[in-house]
Symmetry: D2
Subunit: 160 residues, 4 copies
């Protein structure tokens, strides 16, 4: 896991629809908490078998007053196959209970808006944001539970 | 694994669209082979994590002149979420290469046609059909690899 | 899985002590059954995590009037560490209930007697013997459950 | 994971022989680091399949200037089967590279000395000791990687 050198304030996700949240979720509104922001696609096998169960477990293990898990459905392939209607059923069947936003589709661009802003290389991607809103970790692919737990705890331990 | 007592000829699946097959697949056309017929839904977690990898492995391990694996997408919930468009992307992403048919949607019925005919209790379901076309095994849920391998081999060993 | 070309009668194991059997186990005494003969060492990680649970499952899944599972503790390294006293505790802790014999230590030879006779390349090794006592399969390393189940069933289906 | 209420200074292990360490390991000598002290038996299936790989991973993932992993072979059953000779081969075959001490056998007591002192209920057991030498966590059985990583990081983050 690598950390960014210069402190970069995490940009707000550009989301068209939220699941598991009555109101839109914003990073500004989560200031004071560590935010575990993850990008996935519902038909990405590595997301389904590894990353999503891990994110859901992070959501369940860490106290929500300190750590917030936020998912982003960043569809950049098979757009017709992974609509919000399909995503909603997926979230239900896989018992995901943390907030998940649908990344805004690109206009004339296969990549959706937030994926483009953050420069995600694919799915699954993971961003850890500290309590003041700065990006502290940005990775593509699988992360070990042991390492992820320690990294989140380290960022959380810094305090506000 | 239980076997049916009375010999029942396996009814033909009622399929509206095939993937991984240029022509419609029929049990009549597969007479002489053992047919491993399995029913799944692309948003059924147990199908995705266990049954589908197992079925694909059966397809790869057993010689195709003796054993044919045929999948049925039997959608009985979240109908709008599991359309053939989504299924096609799913099949591609999960690298499934055996023939998969879309079970005909029921008219005024949440259960699709073949699911109704066979009396599948849910997904995943598994039917083993002998070389003469008779149903020899019918189960709902997971089956161990060791038991499945032996059961298929036993039916195959009977000869034509 | 490969099969030997010329029919070779399986030699009797040369065993100094049996566990899970009141009397010595002989292949002659098992004629009429398929014999699943496997060689392991109690401190071989691949044996402990994969091969032994698989062998125990074969023992539980297949009817004992048709298939007999016989283990051989073929110690060829760390001889002082894997004595029968340690093996007995190992068998108890890992809940192994099929017959297991201690391969006779070689005189002035790190390899034990039966390992030498069969030409085992290491552990785990697997030998399948048909109902008439002939070797039908001989392999070193892991075998998939699906393939193993089918192979045993095929040999069993030949009848006496 | 629970934490002890009153601060208890971790007692020194009572060890008769060390592996993977040229000199005896003492908690006093590790003051300033978080110590991950774990108790196991080489013939305990849950230790072999879960706890030991996890402890070895902790040893590899956390920087050794902050976190020290120390194993204790606390034999309380099958004493003749789990001698230091067998343990040495076990450590070699399972590629364990962190320091492991042999808990001093009890005199007229099935339980070894350190196990008795710490009140371990069985194996695997886990004790986390902070940089000042106080016990912060004490548990019996499996701990999730995500939780363990976070707990170690939290204790480490307190500083000296």
């Amino acid at each position: 896991m690598t950390q960014q050198k210069a402190p970069v304030l995490a940009p707000e996700p550009d989301v068209v629809q939220w699941f598991n949240s009555d109101a839109p979720v914003t990073l500004a509104g989560l200031r004071g908490k560590v935010v575990v922001l993850h990008a996935f696609q519902m038909l990405c096998p590595g997301c389904v078998s590894k990353a999503l169960p891990q994110m859901q477990k992070v959501h369940e293990v860490f106290p929500e007053e300190h750590v917030a898990v936020v998912g982003l459905h960043t569809v950049f392939e098979h757009h017709d196959a992974m609509t919000p209607v399909s995503l909603e059923a997926f979230i239900h069947e896989y018992r995901l209970t943390h907030p998940i936003g649908v990344d805004r589709p690109g206009e004339g661009d296969v990549f959706p808006s937030t994926m483009r802003t953050y420069g995600f290389r694919g799915t699954p991607s993971l961003v850890l944001i500290d309590r003041r809103g700065f990006i502290r970790h940005h990775s593509f692919g699988a992360v070990e539970d042991l390492v992820l737990g320690a990294t989140i705890a380290n960022i959380a331990a810094e305090g506000p």
